[in-house]
Symmetry: C2
Subunit: 322 residues, 2 copies
């Protein structure tokens, strides 16, 4: 998607102007390092698109877009500690490259930096922007805690799972768009619709992620197909299977979790899922959220021509082959 890449460049340029103090080096070097690792910068792009949707110039929403992106990176630095992840986008994570304490503290100060960027706004809009940002930030933490709690639970339901991904990842998309809408002085109704668009697209995208993990074309998929199955992750596929299977199938599924031969583990799990219609069921759910997202975008009271970029972005996010 060509338009996306021009927006991404805009964000990269903005990030490169962030002037972290030189010292203490071990507080700010990790941030300089981590912020240049890259990514598609979808969230800050959404803030820009949210502002443009309502007729505002991208420039006035740039600090808030960067606030969203620095917040997102703060969560990644801390999540990487919790997940004990050695790599992020094929680069060494902060706690691996430095250490745990550096990752905690530089993450903390990055969250503060996000608030500093957020504050670069028309003072009249600050209370609303801060309120949205605080609510979003707290909910993202709640989603992350739910995700960790789920690892230790055996009775997670599909609605609970959807609520977890909504909080952990989707509402930040809604919040990012709404932040742009606030800067552009959109109406309360339009802010609600654009928030919903973001969170529904986010849920659909996460469901797609779960499906792709097991059903992607290995040639096109960037990572190992079946990674979630190997790790016994409670994805939507797994929870859907649990909900649909007989007690015999349940015990097969449980046995498969301790299967040592990974090829067999993936193959047999996929075969059981296919038998249960898991992929189709998840795809239907994904489409429901995608349609809800498009319906929310339709309700936004601006010219259709203003919505083109967001429609393209939504289609782009959902276009990975299933």
């Amino acid at each position: 998607m060509e338009a996306l890449s021009s927006y991404t460049k805009m964000i990269e340029a903005g990030l490169s102007t962030l002037d972290f103090p030189k010292t203490p080096e071990r507080l700010y070097d990790p941030l300089r390092y981590f912020l240049q690792i890259g990514g598609k910068r979808i969230r800050p792009v959404l803030t820009i698109l949210g502002a443009e949707l309502f007729g505002a110039d991208f420039k006035i929403a740039l600090p808030q877009a960067l606030a969203i992106e620095t917040f997102h990176n703060f969560t990644l630095i801390h999540d990487d500690i919790m997940d004990e992840a050695p790599l992020r986008r094929n680069q060494t994570t902060v706690h691996e490259k430095w250490n745990r304490d550096v990752a905690i503290l530089s993450g903390d100060v990055l969250l503060v930096k996000a608030y500093q960027l957020l504050a670069q706004i028309n003072p009249k809009q600050l209370p609303e922007a801060l309120d949205l940002f605080n609510r979003t930030a707290a909910e993202v933490c709640e989603g992350q805690q739910m995700d960790m709690d789920f690892e230790e639970r055996q009775d997670v339901t599909v609605p609970e799972y959807i609520e977890m991904i909504r909080l952990k990842t989707s509402i930040l998309l809604g919040g990012a768009l709404t932040m742009g809408a606030i800067v552009a002085n959109a109406s309360a109704e339009d802010k609600k619709h654009i928030y919903d668009f973001g969170q529904y697209i986010g849920i659909a995208f996460q469901i797609q992620d779960d499906i792709l993990d097991l059903y992607a074309d290995p040639k096109k998929f960037g990572k190992q197909v079946g990674g979630d199955v190997i790790a016994n992750k409670k994805t939507l596929l797994h929870l859907t299977a649990i909900g649909a299977c007989s007690s015999e199938q349940l015990s097969v599924l449980k046995q498969l979790q301790s299967e040592k031969n990974l090829e067999i583990k993936i193959e047999k799990t996929r075969s059981l899922f296919d038998h249960l219609g898991v992929k189709e069921s998840c795809r239907i759910r994904m489409d429901e959220y995608y349609q809800k997202a498009l319906f929310s975008l339709e309700k936004v009271s601006v010219n259709e021509s203003n919505k083109v970029e967001l429609r393209h972005l939504a289609a782009y996010l959902m276009e990975r082959e299933l």
Copy 2:
């Protein structure tokens, strides 16, 4: 100090009204637990006193006072992870009672909560309050990083040490007072003076802490006298000694750092420090900051009668026997 205890009660009452969500339990239970561990609540009391100094009612500054206290507790939860401290005020720390990840994430959401409390302010004052809060928060992180860096350095100077304690602990006292002054619509000059009062008192208090560690009356001191010496901490006493001693004395000091008999270690270190006049030198430095603090308070353009509480509090903080 009787007045302090009535203010402390005010803060405790305010903290007890904070309504954290019930779930996720492992995100919010740690906060309910940690915030009731207690303490003198000096920082939020300073916010209240800062508001009253300029004629405002304590009630309008209460949310901002609670913002300061929740921020302080966020730093404690994360610092405890970094220090691997099992206890805080004789209670189990969050990472010990739950685990590292719970402590990271509940600390994060507590910082967000601090911003939510801060936002409960007259919208006209929000930009300035947020700016002060952000600056203070970033500097506290910088001070914490400097402190950790110092553990690995052998060439820390006295001015660097003073700058570290200024950032790590003192400016939060200045920031707390100034937050009250903002709520009370104090003038720019008065806000500067009250900030200085806070940070100078903070530095004097920290120096006093360093002195007391080795020179307190064991009967009156709450913890083991000489704890910093045992841990080979680079306190102001230590750095002052380094700056004053001959190369022979320096090698004695270095040998003492690996002395196994702790009584002898403390005794001989104290004796060397006495010989070098370390205590007296530190006390002079402490008094300088105390006088600077009082001088800053003098410059605040309100009636002397309004300053009584702050003078009492300053004297109370500095009254521990040296």
